[in-house]
Amino acid sequence: MNIILIIVIVVNIIIALLFSLGAAPILVWVERRVAGFIQDRLGPNRCNIAGFRLGGLIQSFADMLKLVFKEDFRAGAIKEKFVFSIAPVIVFASAFLSYMVMPFADDLVIGSQTFVMQGLPINLGVLWFLAFAGLSIYGIILGGWASNNKYSLLGSIRAGAQVISYEASMTLALISLLITYGSINLVDIVNFQGKLLFGFIPAWGVVMQPLAAIIFIVTAFAEANRTPFDIAEGESEIVGGYHTEYSAMKFGLFFVGEYVAMSASSALIVTLFFGGYNLPWLGTATLKEHFSAIMWIIVVALPLLSFLFGRWIVKNNVWPKTDDIRNKETKWLLRMMVLMNMVIIAILAYFLYSGIGVTGTNIAVAVIQVATFAIKLLLMNFVFVWVRWTLPRFRYDQLQNLGWKVLLPLSIANIFLTALVVVGFGV
């Protein structure tokens, strides 16, 4: 155990925490604002700390605080108190644990040591995700059952049937992918996608296995209990589904767990199908080779992008009442952005001047890859939100028809096809 090892492990765990737990309030905010914009509304935009609204992000923190301080009410009819209390913990913990194997960056080489950039550096990869994503259903089933409420029970029965039927197709879609990639280790999978197909197309999973991509994304929606597969909640039919009886932070854990699960699903989709931490056409080796060029690009592009973003802020971040404290936010945001630009450019200029060294390049490439992963993750989460506010909920029989009669045969056919191609062409 040396210092660098400890630092890298701590950094990994912090990144994993940020991507899973830290993402929850941001995702709640994204969900509400995107929903507003899609429906021609504003969404939450009022809450502020000393005038700072950050586009309404502060509202998420206010809501979290509200959930923490609310009265934890438990109806008298609930007999299974232990099960009732542990159910949201299971949902939250399993969603959180399933996040831990996502690789944020390529293996980091410092000196003679190589570090795997995952929360948990194990090579079980996809299996780990499947195991813990599958466990989260216990929270929903037990919560619904322990609530001693018809609607909750209906919700959890629906959730149980849904997850059992969609997990099969999900796993089978994964198997065809694993045949293509030849590994279950997520780092290997992402590095495979860093190559180029025919010399010019990035060999992302979505290009190699489009059918598996569609099946997997659909089943991932079902696994995360997101619309159009959120019949477990189904507030138009069964009140609130499995969390009808929950209040305060117990409900909060279900709520956050849903977003963490969504984020974990997005992370897996990004890792399996959209090249993970790879920038298209820029593999780890290319990045390391041409790093000074990359720095020049950043030095030029960052002020330009900041300028465009600043113009957008000036145009849109206004509050109708002129003497309101919220109107001072734009000025401070612009100042902070200029400061950030200056700091980053100064650092890059220093490195351009003095040279960055091998270890420095490796660390900088890892930082760029983490940023790439974060952006891809955010985009995929946006797709989850976007689909939620576009599609209506499935009817129960339609859901089962889709799962068993369409997705399962398709995924099995895909396995055969993939195996034929792999064996036939010896790829």
Binding site: V34, G36, F37, I38, Q39, D40, R41, L42, N45, R46, I214, W312, K315, N316, W319, P320, K321, D324, W386, V387, W389, T390, L391
Partner: protein
């Protein structure tokens, strides 16, 4: 009652694939999102306490007012027509003799309990001398105590039409 089987909409392969329709729907929502994100002023939502509603018309039934005669005195003759027409029994009138020669009777007390009022406009319809109107445009009336919601004659006379006194 038998089961009615509705023929399924969409028989072509493209319809049965669903994905084109899903992507078309996602395109629509995306266009709304992009339009509103690029310029939030495209959104018609009014940030209410800061922005007042601009679409209050003459026919809007707001808080009541008592109208004035040309010389500024109260137009009401305390005929109790409004109180009789009121379905919520929220108008309380006490009449008294009017000695200034303009008319014979005028209200001594004219109270409207806004907590009881259902804003039906029945009193305005019933009034024979156009003495009570609901054209103040006041759509939100706030007070801290219940008794502050009972408006008396002076308050009602002080209310103005939102388009100015007529």
């Amino acid at each position: 009652m038998g089961i009615k089987i509705v023929p399924r909409y969409g028989k072509s392969f493209k319809d049965k694939l669903y994905l084109p329709a899903i992507f078309a729907g996602m395109k629509t929502t995306m266009s709304h999102f992009a339009k509103n994100l690029s310029d939030t002023s495209n959104i018609k939502t009014e940030c209410y306490p800061e922005m007042k509603p601009q679409d209050i018309t003459q026919r809007y039934r707001g808080v009541h007012r008592l109208t004035h005669r040309d010389d500024g005195s109260v137009r009401c003759v305390a005929c109790f027509m409004c109180a009789t027409a009121c379905p919520a029994d929220c108008i309380f009138i006490e009449g008294k003799e009017r000695r200034d020669g303009i008319d014979e009777k005028m209200p001594a007390v004219f109270k409207i309990d806004l907590l009881e009022c259902v804003f039906c406009g029945g009193c305005v319809e019933a009034c024979p001398c156009d003495a009570i109107r609901m054209d103040t445009g006041i759509f939100s009336f706030v007070a801290k105590r219940r008794k502050d919601f009972v408006l008396d004659k002076e308050q009602l006379l002080a209310h103005k039409s939102f388009e100015g006194e007529k």
